[in-house]
């Protein structure tokens, strides 16, 4: 197992009577793009605020790079973007040079590298006249200053138009490929995170419901062919004889993970074998459906 760059132990944050985070224990490993998925108000931003030190946890522990004691030092090696925050009158270069001075990083080379990476090289207008997409890009550049080992990005695709979402997705992939940083990215849109993340954590009402790898997530959201028949063992034998494998029987249903595009052929085999075919349909659990099942239905934000 690779080393955990970020680990929380029963992290809890209470505001008065309400619990924004309730015993969140998760681990982000070196090289991960960790997708933190949850609806608005689920606790994603509160989690990030605790990690980067903007609010004090009510209970629990945070471990960055294996260090729990001197978090202020560890946090200096952590980049973050929780809504892009820059001075409105500074242009992208000036904004990053300001942050370089504050962080004690030599701006020569670093600023050019990052502006090039996020596609803002040559932009001279002030931050206040940026589009949302440009602000998000500059926010990511700011988060990457000094080549941090852990980068936290809160809702980087929030509010972007479709092209902006595609660009941001590519940018996150590029950043990961070029810097090798461990990324923690939050969103309430699972299908978008699915295209970039390697592991997922699902959070709802402050509770971490599940951690799952990209591979396992897709195993749970596979498409299948569901066949309802009057004689399950005989139908199963017929299909096996026709070379179809991996058949799962469930009540009067057979579930096939393969041959999804050959439903007519499968139906002919069963009918010609005198099987009573009561129904046949494709079933697909989308990522959204999986997410909604996990968080318990469609009740409010």
């Amino acid at each position: 197992m690779t080393q955990a760059v970020l680990r929380t132990h029963a992290l809890t944050k209470k505001y008065g009577g309400s619990c924004a985070l309730d015993g969140v224990s998760l681990a982000v490993y070196e090289g991960d793009i960790y997708g933190l998925v949850g609806r608005n108000g689920a606790g994603k931003t509160t989690f990030f605020k605790c990690v980067i030190g903007l609010c004090r946890p009510s209970a629990g522990e945070i471990e960055i790079d294996g260090d729990t004691g001197r978090l202020s030092v560890s946090r200096r090696r952590t980049g973050f973007m929780i809504s892009p925050s820059f001075f409105p009158y500074l242009d992208p270069r000036e904004s990053l040079e300001y942050l370089c001075r504050v962080k004690g990083i030599a701006p020569a080379g670093e600023v050019d590298r990052l502006l090039g990476l996020v596609g803002l090289a040559g932009v001279r207008k002030p931050f206040k006249s940026f589009s949302l997409g440009m602000k998000q890009r500059l926010g990511i550049a700011g988060a990457l200053l000094g080549s941090p080992s852990l980068v936290v990005l809160d809702e980087p695709i929030n509010g972007l138009d479709p092209q902006g979402i595609i660009d941001m997705r590519e940018l996150i992939k590029n950043v990961h490929a070029q810097t090798g940083a461990t990324l923690v990215v939050s969103s309430h849109i699972l299908s978008e995170l699915d295209m970039v993340a390697t592991r997922f954590g699902f959070i709802e009402q402050g509770v971490l419901l599940k951690e799952i790898s990209h591979q396992d997530l897709h195993a749970r959201t596979k498409k299948s062919l569901v066949i309802e028949v009057d004689d399950v063992p005989k139908a199963c034998a017929l299909l096996n004889a026709a070379g179809i494998e991996g058949i799962a029987a469930k009540g009067d249903q057979l579930v096939l993970q393969s041959h999804l595009d050959r439903a007519p052929w499968v139906a002919r085999i069963l009918v010609s074998g005198n099987i009573g075919l009561k129904g046949l349909h494709r079933q697909e659990t989308t990522l959204e459906e999986y997410f909604m099942q996990l968080v318990g239905g469609g009740h409010g934000d």
């Binding site: 605020k49 030190g53 609010c55 946090r75 200096r76 929780i82 009158y89 500074l90 001075r101």
Partner: protein, 242 residues
């Protein structure tokens, strides 16, 4: 903390509206001097400094206060600084150092500008007059720095731009010290000397006339230290919002 101060100076020197604001202020001052130049006397250069410099804490100190402190609130930069692992106490101290240095630069240049403009309109200053003009500027510099430190409590405690600016303006227009002086006057009029305007008067008198200054200096430092300490405490207690 040095890094933060360097960063702050970098951004403030790249804030173009600073140059525009001070250019407009200079033009306005020049025009007022031009209008008044018909009635200049030998004492005008000092008397007018006494009258005009009253507004420096608001016009110069207020702008610099907004640039140093409230720009951070508008840009949500305090959260960025804390997220970088910079301690809140260091942020409070660095901001006050920036305010003190920038105000020192401004309050050092204003008397020179004043004397130069008046000389241009025929009211040249003697060395003594220049010293007096600088003494007036020094008093208002001290009050501006103290007011910046005190308003910092509102900046860090409430983290709302409007409240912070209103607090500074109320202090700079002596509304707060006026109310306090009235209140103290009911108890013991001598207490008024221990408010910021009274303390800065005593310090400047000490510098100019050689009267004892140590007590006033200690009181002044105590005010600023109190403001810094309270700012740091309220900042530590305040959770950062994005």
């Amino acid at each position: 903390m040095i890094r933060l101060i360097r960063g702050e100076f970098y951004r403030l020197l790249h804030k173009k509206s600073t140059y525009l604001y001070f250019a407009l202020l200079a033009v306005g001052y020049f025009l007022v001097a031009f209008v008044r130049s018909g009635g200049f006397t030998a004492q005008s250069v000092v008397d007018d400094a006494l009258n005009a410099f009253v507004f420096l804490p608001v016009l110069v100190g207020g702008f610099l206060f907004a640039a140093v402190y409230t720009d951070d609130l508008n840009a949500r930069n305090l959260a960025v600084l804390v997220g970088f692992g910079i301690s809140k106490t260091k942020v409070v101290l660095a901001k006050l150092v920036c305010a003190a240095v920038l105000n020192a630069a401004a309050f050092a240049l204003v008397p020179l500008f004043h004397v130069a403009v008046y000389a241009l309109f025929g009211s040249a200053a003697t060395t003594d007059a220049l010293g007096s003009v600088y003494a007036v500027a020094f008093k208002f510099y001290l009050t501006t720095v103290a007011f910046s430190a005190l308003s910092g409590i509102v900046v860090y405690g409430l983290q709302r731009t409007t409240f912070a600016v209103v607090a500074f303006v109320l202090l700079a227009f002596n509304v707060v010290s006026g109310l306090a002086a009235s209140l103290f006057g009911l108890i013991d009029p001598a207490l008024r000397d221990h408010l910021i305007p009274g303390i800065t008067d005593r310090i400047v008198s000490g510098v100019v006339f050689g009267s004892p200054v140590a007590g006033a200096l200690v009181e002044y430092i105590a005010y600023v230290a109190f403001a810094v300490a309270v700012s740091a405490v309220v900042f530590h207690r305040k959770e950062m919002e994005f």
